[in-house]
């Protein structure tokens, strides 16, 4: 595949070189046992330990799996490292299930399949920055990521920015050299790093190996099967996910010449559980208003850094690659830095859980007239959100001149997607190649989407001492700009005293 050279590729290669520069891979004689709260006792092979022990993976210990969620759900302190190992274990279980059911296509090299999906699981999140998706929300709109995607439209599709970074790490020259010099000659296993990269971004270039990709990036991929269990367990939000049932029904089906991962019709209930679990986790955990408010603070830290040309450990954060050099501890460390102006105050607020409060709720339930204009609010771009913050501050200044636009945040969360309903096949005959979509059985994606849309809330946040003035100002500005009328819930839900 021809790929255009982009500056970000060079930066990622330099990053991988720097990470591996001082790493002296030990010779591992035998597999290691690693215990896990969710998945029990598991074996990792010597070549995997060599990769797991590298700084590329060790940094994931310092990145929260659920960004700032522990500020609201205190036991949600699990990290990207344990999740990555979990994905490798579940990918292994999916392969074993396919072998047990004798579902693997003829000529499949099952050892190569197993080694590749496990390695893809281990590496799939190595592109995450501090606080996982919160970094991604910032650098996802950077020009270098956009250019890389636009120049390789067919390769990346709509892969998430962190998946793109993981792909670039895995396919970098520096990592190829590491595998060539340390993994392959010592342990005698060859890896197709392009294929592992494609598994991470969900790109199928080899029809015979479509199901390899789907084990890592598909409807019921190992990533999802791990994070649903892990996030629900550690946050204390109980979910049902019958993995054993899924493993008894997993299969391969040929569609348009591609060997795809599927499940028997009898496993549909597990797929429905996945969709409903995802829906509940988003509304209960990931989009909790305190979580959203903390995420606003995090973004403001980087707004300050950018606005004032501050650097953190020599990085200016004008490239997505810069986010690979920092982990959660670096963000909290900013609280003690003296040369980064207000960014330090913001980090201290995050560290001490001094979070902005709700000043106004924007949703279909808090708007009484012209509900269709909610569409304009929900689709505001970054420049318009800045203008809205400034307009609210201008109005609030009439009552309190101390309030600035930087004391006001407008947060418009994305509504979760439920691709599972329409994009992946369910096998309908034991030995045939007929398939249907999940939504053909029951339009689960429509129902979960309707739930998520009804639950959707946008917020105006501000500091506790400004909530009354900001509430009035925000209500007045938004009603005027968007020709809508808020009802009393828009304020009462905020518990403004």
């Amino acid at each position: 595949m021809v790929k255009q050279v982009n500056e970000i590729r060079e930066k990622i290669n330099l990053y991988v070189e720097a990470q591996l520069e001082e790493y002296k891979p030990p010779y591992i004689k035998s597999p290691k046992v690693i215990h896990d709260t969710i998945l029990g006792t598991n074996i990792f092979y010597p070549h995997e330990i060599m990769v797991i022990d590298s700084p590329l993976l060790q940094r994931l210990r310092r990145i929260s799996q659920v960004d700032v969620v522990p500020l609201v759900f205190p036991s949600g302190n699990h990290n990207r490292f344990e999740h990555s190992l979990g994905v490798a274990v579940i990918a292994d279980k999916l392969v074993q299930a396919l072998k047990n059911r004798k579902s693997l296509p003829e000529h499949t090299d099952s050892d190569a399949l197993l080694y590749h999906v496990r390695m893809a699981g281990i590496l799939h999140d190595c592109g995450h920055g501090a606080f996982s998706h919160m970094s991604e929300d910032i650098h996802g709109s950077f020009p270098d990521i956009f250019e890389e995607r636009r120049n390789n439209r067919n390769l990346y599709g709509d892969a998430k920015p962190h998946e793109m970074l993981s792909y670039l790490i895995v396919t970098s020259l520096a990592l190829r050299n590491f595998f060539r010099d340390h993994v392959e000659p010592i342990y005698g296993i060859s890896f197709d790093l392009d294929l592992i990269g494609e598994m991470i971004i969900g790109h199928v270039s080899n029809s015979d190996k479509a199901f390899w990709v789907e084990i890592i990036n598909g409807a019921f991929d190992a990533d999802k099967l791990d994070y649903i269990q892990r996030d629900s367990h550690f946050t204390g939000i109980q979910m049902i996910l019958d993995l054993d049932r899924l493993f008894y029904t997993v299969d391969i089906i040929e569609i348009d010449g591609k060997q795809r991962l599927t499940i028997d019709f009898s496993g549909v209930s597990t797929l429905e559980e996945i969709v409903f679990d995802k829906m509940m986790l988003v509304s209960t955990v990931y989009n909790h208003h305190k979580v959203r408010s903390a995420e606003c603070l995090f973004k403001s830290i980087f707004d300050e850094i950018k606005e004032n040309d501050f650097s953190i450990h020599g990085r200016f954060f004008d490239s997505a690659a810069d986010f690979l050099y920092i982990t959660d501890d670096d963000i909290y460390g900013m609280a003690k830095m003296t040369d980064i102006g207000k960014a330090s105050n913001l980090a201290r607020n995050l560290l001490n859980r001094n979070l902005p409060k709700r000043g106004l709720i924007i949703s279909g339930r808090t708007i009484d007239s012209n509900r269709q204009n909610l569409q304009q609010i929900m689709s505001l771009n970054n420049e318009q959100i800045t203008l809205l913050r400034e307009a609210i501050a201008e109005e609030a200044n009439k009552q309190n001149p101390a309030i600035t636009a930087k004391d006001i945040w407008v947060d418009l969360p994305k509504i979760p997607k439920f691709k599972e309903g329409s994009l992946w096949p369910i096998k309908t005959f034991a030995n045939g190649n007929s398939y249907i979509k999940l939504r053909d059985v029951f339009p689960v994606d429509d129902w979960t989407k309707a739930f998520s849309e009804n639950k959707w809330q946008g917020y105006v946040f501000t500091w506790a001492e400004f909530t009354d003035e900001v509430n009035q100002a925000a209500q007045s500005v938004i009603e005027s700009a968007f020709d809508i009328q808020f009802n009393s819930y828009a304020r009462s839900i905020c518990k403004i005293t």
Binding site: A159, N217, Q372, S422, W424, P425, R439, A450, W456, A481
Partner: protein, 133 residues
């Protein structure tokens, strides 16, 4: 100019991916269309492959690894239109969208006459894909 006036001007003039989809829907001859993400995403994916139209749809990146194309951005656009009831879905069946044509048509103001002609062609093709002859 006050900030609120700047915002209002920006809202009136800034063209976003949502406007393209709304303009296509406004230019169709239908007031109801099938609500099936597979069909909708496939139709917009087909339109994006036409070189003379892809300038309108260049922000939409499609995942083609599944059994039909899917765009995260298009999903977001549709979610916003559904949440605001511009694409209304009669409860409890979610088989059709009722198109709120008056609201959708506002987006056409962000395109000049020749662009509106182009969007009309896209809408015709969109209908053809949605309702096979």
């Amino acid at each position: 100019m006050s900030k609120i006036d700047e915002l209002k001007t920006s809202l009136r003039t800034t063209r976003k991916p949502d406007d393209v989809i709304m303009a296509i829907l406004a230019s169709t001859s239908k007031t109801k269309i099938v609500k099936d993400p597979t069909v909708f995403h496939s139709a917009i994916f087909e339109l994006s492959k036409n070189e003379s139209w892809n300038g309108y749809l260049e922000d939409f990146f499609f995942d083609v690894s599944g059994i039909s194309p899917f765009s995260d951005l298009l999903d977001q656009v549709l979610s916003r239109l559904e949440t605001s009831c511009v694409l209304a879905t009669p409860n409890p069946r979610y088989e059709e969208y009722d198109l709120q044509k008056d609201y959708l048509s506002i987006s056409l103001n962000k395109f000049d006459a020749s662009q509106q002609d182009c969007l009309k062609q896209m809408a015709n093709k969109f209908e053809e894909i949605l309702i096979p002859q």
